[in-house]
Structures are given as structure tokens and as C-alpha cells.
């Protein structure tokens, strides 16, 4: 949670305020706020700052196991609020985080190694449907993803050859692999194969096989994170893997020293414990199982070959729990979004600048990185939405104008042109073509 907040804070004003790329007016006009988001209750920036601080404190409270039930609920609520306020910036890692926080609200995870438990490690039983759901959620994620990947681009092993060409999604390091199509093909097949077989490892009754499965998934996601701009998706699935770890890991010497160290640290925390042993009753567990089945159906429905499996009026359940999930990855890789944006602006004194890249004067040539001025993995998905929808384009340019004028007092933007330089990826990555399109221009006031 804290890492997630850290990734959002540098872009907070431009992503989460009414002066940003997604002002609340657009959310209201499109009926797009389907979760009662705390970050949408006011546009006053001190309020948003205070809310961020509360959000961070709640995360610390959860880590310490202080008022665990309350912190669990607030963690889930504030995290989903943040995600829904700027739905454009979400990726798979956010969905993993929000689903983990939701299911964990029903776990007794405050009864050991927490301030509420007096800092002590305890043998606790946590059985029941909730634990089964916690184990099945990542399994569902990978198998539904595999189902979506039953597409020619994946089955031919070509997906990485396209995906790593996208400067929006891939780091510059990824280009070092492009001259080796065979390596990319092997990695594509390996990913697909492991997502089919790996969950079986996770569900194995044999501890060492489970441990291997956990380690392999963690390494896989970290590997993705080295080459692709996936942010917290590089490590949030690893959190689910903790649930699969066999007990001998915690009983080993390193495991015991980690637990002992945690106990000592928690023992130093001067906060009054608030123990609350609560297990969800059977009816609640049954409802959670039904909810999980429903969420799985929603995830499968994202595939057009299956179509809708649940009635539209029930979509509110997925929206209000933050459990709406979509696990299709690069299935349309040949048309993957690639290129760069230039927001060429004319200032009142006649100078020309690029509000997005930050260059002065603006340049049309391919930049070294597509997000020079605001480098973050939180940009690719919003840019895909913005460049594909006219209604978001003026607010995007307006947000960049406000951001520029704030950082450069006295510079007044009088005209701006939003241009997309789109590269069309080819298997032969040398043969890309570039098309320039003017998406919007005018006075961004």
C-alpha cells in the first residue's frame, strides 16, 4: 500500500485533482464513479493531501496490526477510492492489491504478530471458505489469463516481439532483447506454459513443490517488472504467494529469526492493543464464496468469445467491492499502443514548448523516453484512453497547461496542439512506420 501511494504521489495533482487530466466533471458526465470514492468527495487540495496522509497512516496501522479490523476495512476502502478516482491509471497490480485487501478483511490476520495480539506470535487457525478464496484468487487470475491468451499472437509466440517494441509499456532495456526473436518466442511460450502449470504447483499438497511454485511466480513477475512498466504488478502477486508458503519455511532458522525480529519490533511499539477475535459466520462465508464465483464469471466475461455471463444490473456488486477484474494481457499485441506524444504549446511571449515532454523548443523526433517530464508507469494506460477518446483530450492539455504554468510562473500558454506520433510495430522491429496525428488543438483554458 505504501509503495502504491509512493508511485502515485509524484503525479497526484495531475492525476487526482480537478486541475488534472480527469476532473470530476468528466466522471460525473459519464456516470463513471461506480464506487463511493473518498477522493471524489471534495476537490479542495488540502483535503486530498490530508486524505493521503490518513491513507498512509492506515497502511502503517495495518502493518503494525493496530486496530486491525478497522485498518483492514479502511485500507480496502481508501485503496479502492484512490483507484476509482483515477480509473485510467490502474493496471493488474492495482486489481491484485484491491482484491487482496478485500478478501483479507475476513481473515484473522490481526491475531498474530500484531500490536493487537500484544506483539506475540500465536498459533492460530484460519480455516474456512475465506482461506480457500484467498488461495483460489491467484489461481483464477492465472487461469483466466491463460484463457484470454488462447489467441494466435500468443500461440505463435510472437507477443513479446510486439510488446517489447512499445515505448509506452517497455523500458529501454527491453529493446536489447528485440534482436533475438527466438529468445522472445521461448519467453512467450514459457510464460504461457507456466501460467497453465504453475497454479497446479501452488495447489500441490507437497510443500517443496508449493515453495518452488511460489518462487517461480515471484521471479516471473519481477522479470516482467525489469522490462515492462508494470509498477506494483511486479510484486503484488507475490503477496498472494505468502498464503501458499509451507510452514517449514516459517519454522526454519531464517523464518524463525524473521518472526522473532518482528515480535521484538512490535514489542517496542507503545500502542494499546485492541484484540478482536472475529471469524465470519457461515452465512457470510457462503456469501463470499458466491461473490468469488461471481467475480470469476466477470473475469471470464471479458473475453468476447464467451460474452456476458452475469446480468448487467449485478455489475454494481463488482464495482462496489472493487473486485471488477480483467486479466487479458497483450492479446491485441500487433496493435499495441506505441509511439510518443507531443503537446506543442505557444506561450504569450512567442516561445514554443512541449508541455508533456518538457522540451523547449518542442521537438517532433522520437524522445529517449516517452515521459520525460512526468516519468511514471502510471502513464501508459491513461494515454491509451486519452488518445482514443476526444472528450478527454482537452482536459489533458488543460491539465498540462496548469502544471506548466505552476512550475513556470509568468509563462502563459495561449495555444496548444496535441499530437500523437504513432509507431506501428512489426515483427521485424526495424521496419516500424510513424504516423503523425493532430488529436486536438486550441486554447487550453
Amino acid at each position: 500500500m505504501l509503495a502504491d501511494l509512493a508511485t502515485r504521489i509524484p503525479l497526484f495533482r495531475i492525476h487526482y485533482t480537478d486541475d488534472g487530466v480527469l476532473p470530476r466533471q468528466l466522471l460525473y458526465d459519464n456516470d463513471a464513479l461506480t464506487f463511493p470514492s473518498a477522493y471524489a468527495m471534495s476537490g479542495w487540495e488540502p483535503y486530498l493531501g490530508l486524505l493521503l496522509l490518513v491513507h498512509a497512516l492506515v497502511a502503517v496501522g495495518l502493518a503494525l496490526g493496530y486496530r486491525t479490523r478497522l485498518c483492514s476495512f479502511l485500507s480496502w476502502y481508501l485503496t479502492v477510492s484512490l483507484q476509482e478516482r483515477m480509473f485510467m491509471a490502474n493496471n493488474g497490480g492495482d486489481k491484485v492489491l484491491s482484491s487482496l485487501l478485500f478478501w483479507s478483511m475476513f481473515l484473522p490476520w490481526g491475531e498474530a504478530l500484531s500490536v493487537d495480539a500484544g506483539g506475540r506470535g500465536r498459533e492460530g487457525k484460519a480455516g474456512g471458505a475465506v482461506c480457500a478464496i484467498l488461495l483460489m484468487q491467484p489461481v483464477m487470475m492465472y487461469w483466466v489469463s491463460v484463457f484470454h491468451k488462447m489467441e494466435p499472437i500468443w500461440l505463435r509466440g510472437e507477443v513479446l516481439s510486439y510488446a517489447l517494441q512499445s515505448d509506452f509499456y517497455a523500458y529501454p532495456l527491453a529493446r536489447t532483447l528485440l534482436p533475438y526473436p527466438l529468445v522472445l518466442k521461448v519467453l512467450s511460450y514459457a510464460t504461457l506454459l507456466w501460467e497453465i502449470v504453475g497454479p497446479v504447483f501452488l495447489l500441490s499438497p507437497r510443500p517443496r513443490i508449493r515453495a518452488f511454485g511460489c518462487a517461480a511466480f515471484v521471479v516471473m513477475h519481477l522479470g516482467f517488472g525489469v522490462f515492462l512498466r508494470i509498477g506494483i504488478f511486479a510484486f503484488t502477486p507475490g503477496l498472494y504467494m505468502l498464503a501458499f508458503l509451507p510452514s517449514w519455511i516459517w519454522e526454519s532458522r531464517p523464518g524463525r529469526s524473521v518472526l522473532a525480529g518482528t515480535e521484538r519490533a512490535l514489542g517496542r511499539v507503545r500502542l494499546a492493543p485492541h484484540p478482536s477475535a472475529w471469524a465470519p459466520p457461515r452465512q457470510v462465508q457462503a456469501a463470499l464464496v458466491a461473490l468469488f464465483v461471481y467475480v470469476t464469471a466477470i473475469a471470464l466475461s471479458q473475453d468476447p468469445r464467451i460474452g456476458r455471463l452475469t446480468p448487467p444490473r449485478l455489475d454494481c456488486i463488482a464495482n462496489l467491492t472493487g473486485l471488477y477484474q480483467r486479466w487479458s494481457v497483450f492479446i491485441d499485441a500487433p496493435h499495441i499502443f506505441d509511439g510518443w506524444l507531443v503537446v506543442e504549446a505557444r506561450l504569450a511571449d512567442g516561445r514554443e514548448v512541449d508541455l508533456f515532454q518538457g522540451h523547449e523548443p518542442s521537438r517532433w523526433g522520437k524522445p529517449e523516453t516517452p515521459y520525460h517530464r512526468h516519468d511514471s508507469f502510471r502513464w501508459p494506460t491513461p494515454l491509451v484512453v486519452i488518445t482514443g477518446n476526444k472528450q478527454y483530450q482537452k482536459p489533458f492539455v488543460r491539465a498540462l497547461r496548469l502544471d506548466w504554468e505552476r512550475d513556470h510562473p509568468g509563462d502563459e500558454v495561449v495555444w496548444a496542439t496535441l499530437m500523437l506520433f504513432q509507431e506501428n510495430p512489426h515483427l521485424d522491429y526495424h521496419a516500424t512506420t510513424v504516423e503523425r496525428t493532430v488529436l486536438w488543438e486550441g486554447n487550453p483554458r
Partner: protein
């Protein structure tokens, strides 16, 4: 002991009366709920956050979700919290919850408020610090130490002092803000709606259809005969977009049948009246400032 008991009873009466006042206000909102609280009404969420700085910065739970049922649920929650406060059930939870809900409600409909709304909220704020459920309470809160009632009275005094510079008091509509539009002693603006049929005949929509239009204050009430609508209309001259929204909401909520082809809105004062806007009952709303829409605002 006897003294504390008397004070507890006084505070309990205060609690019950305040809760009753809030419930009465909620009941008065009910006939116009859709008109003011939904996105089909005059005060769309989008309009609130774009047209006024206050609307943009104000905190409101109503801003957080666009599901159509959401404002109804919040309204219901406000009523439940007020009932809980009235009967003295867990006031330590009910009172803060009611405060947040009442603040949210008022910020949602900021253009249609008056001084009584401010007073209610201030009084509720003061009550948060008072041990007002020690007597006549269904389930008193855990006891608080200290003289919370003193802090509450101080807060009341401080808020009262800060209310005095409120723009509603210092502008020309001060009495209006304090006492509501009907109590205003001198002519302020009022609006008269005139229906027009296909032959061009005109008549007051509020009143008898067989007479020529009248522009007196008595003819001013919009069809809903709502106090809150009058407050809203009084604010129309502050913002040109809100007249259009009023009209969009009017068409959505009011069915005048096929006889009325268009409606003219006249802005009236004691010195005379002028055509404020003309909108068709069917089809597209003309853009602001066009020939058929003379424009909004003063």
C-alpha cells in the same frame, strides 16, 4: 447531583429538538428530492463542481458516487442518524455521522440554502461536544469526562462569530438569506413561468390557464410551490448556466401535456419584468444567447 440532572435534561431536550428540526427539514426536501439531488435535476454534480469554487471545494458524500440510488441512500442514512440522535441511541456515533451527512447534504445543494440551514449545522457541531445523552436516551454513549457542554457552547459562540461575515448577510439579499424569499420586505427578483401554445396564446403556468399572464409576486411560485425552488431561483441571477439546468430539470420532472409548446421565463421586479429565457417543451434546448434564448442571469 440535582444540578447535573437538570443540565442533563436540558441538553437532552436540546438534542431532541435539534434532531426534530433536522427531520422536519428532511421532510421538506422530500417533494423536491429528485429536482435538487439527482443528476436529472437543477443541480447536477457536474454543474456543482464546475460552476462555483465553493461547489468544487466543498466536501460532500453526495459527490463520491454516480449511481442513481446513491443520493437516496444517503438521504435515508441522514434520516436514520437523526432518529438515532432523537431517541438517544449511541449518540457518540450517531451525532458525528449526522454531522457529516448534514454537511454533505447542505454542500450538495448549496445554492438553495438559507440561514436556518447554517444555524442547524452550527448547532449540531456544538452538540458533538456536549454530553447530551445522559438523560432520556435509549442507549447512552460511554461516559466522557470533562465539561463537554462548556466546549460546545464556546464552539457555538465561535461559529456564530464567524457566520456574521457570511456573504448572505452582507450583500443586498441579507434579509432574504436570513428569512427566506417570502419574508423579504422589498422587491427582489422573482420569476414567472408563462406557457405558450401553438397559436401563441400565453398564460401563467402557475394559476389559471384562461387569463392573460400576470407578473406579480403572487404568480411567481414555480409549479412545485416549493420554498427551496424559490431559494434556487433567487440564485439564478448569480449564474447563467443554472437557468438552463432549471429548465432541463423542469422538462424532466413536470409533464405539462401537449398543449404547451414552449415556456417563457420572465424575471420580475417591482419596477417591471423582462423576458429571461424562452425554451421549447420538446426538442433541443437552443444554445445560450441565441434568438430564442435571450440569455440567463441579470
Amino acid at each position: 447531583m440535582g444540578g447535573e440532572s437538570s443540565l442533563s435534561r436540558v441538553l437532552a431536550v436540546f438534542r431532541v429538538l435539534l434532531a426534530a428540526a433536522i427531520l422536519a427539514d428532511l421532510a421538506l426536501w422530500l417533494p423536491d428530492f429528485g429536482f435538487f439531488f439527482t443528476n436529472s435535476g437543477v443541480l447536477t454534480l457536474s454543474g456543482m463542481v464546475t460552476d462555483t469554487q465553493v461547489g468544487r471545494d466543498a466536501f460532500s458524500l453526495y459527490n463520491s458516487c454516480t449511481y442513481a440510488i446513491f443520493p437516496y441512500l444517503l438521504f435515508l442514512a441522514t434520516a436514520i442518524a437523526a432518529v438515532a440522535l432523537m431517541v438517544g441511541y449511541r449518540c457518540d456515533l450517531a451525532a458525528p455521522a449526522l454531522w457529516v451527512l448534514e454537511l454533505s447534504l447542505q454542500n450538495r445543494v448549496a445554492i438553495a440554502l438559507d440561514a436556518w440551514d447554517c444555524a442547524r449545522l452550527i448547532t449540531l457541531s456544538a452538540g458533538l461536544l456536549m454530553p447530551w445523552d445522559r438523560a432520556w436516551a435509549l442507549r447512552p454513549s460511554p461516559r466522557r469526562a470533562g465539561h463537554g457542554w462548556v466546549a460546545g457552547l464556546l464552539l457555538l459562540a465561535v461559529w456564530g462569530a464567524t457566520l456574521l461575515p457570511h456573504p448572505g448577510w452582507v450583500e443586498d439579499a441579507a434579509a432574504f438569506f436570513a428569512l427566506g424569499p417570502r419574508a423579504h420586505p422589498t422587491a427582489d427578483y422573482w420569476y414567472v413561468l408563462v406557457g405558450v401554445n401553438k397559436e401563441g396564446r400565453r398564460w401563467n403556468l402557475h394559476g389559471h390557464g384562461d387569463r392573460e399572464p400576470e407578473f406579480s409576486r403572487a404568480s411567481s411560485c414555480p409549479l412545485g410551490d416549493s420554498y427551496r425552488e424559490q431559494l434556487y431561483l433567487a440564485g439564478l441571477r448569480q449564474d447563467r448556466n443554472w437557468g438552463l439546468r432549471y429548465w432541463l430539470a423542469f422538462r424532466y420532472f413536470v409533464d405539462l401535456g401537449d398543449r404547451v409548446r414552449s415556456v417563457e421565463v420572465y424575471q420580475c421586479q417591482a419596477s417591471g419584468h423582462r423576458l429571461f429565457a424562452r425554451w421549447p417543451m420538446h426538442g433541443e434546448i437552443p444554445p445560450q444567447g441565441s434568438a430564442t434564448s435571450p440569455g440567463n442571469g441579470g
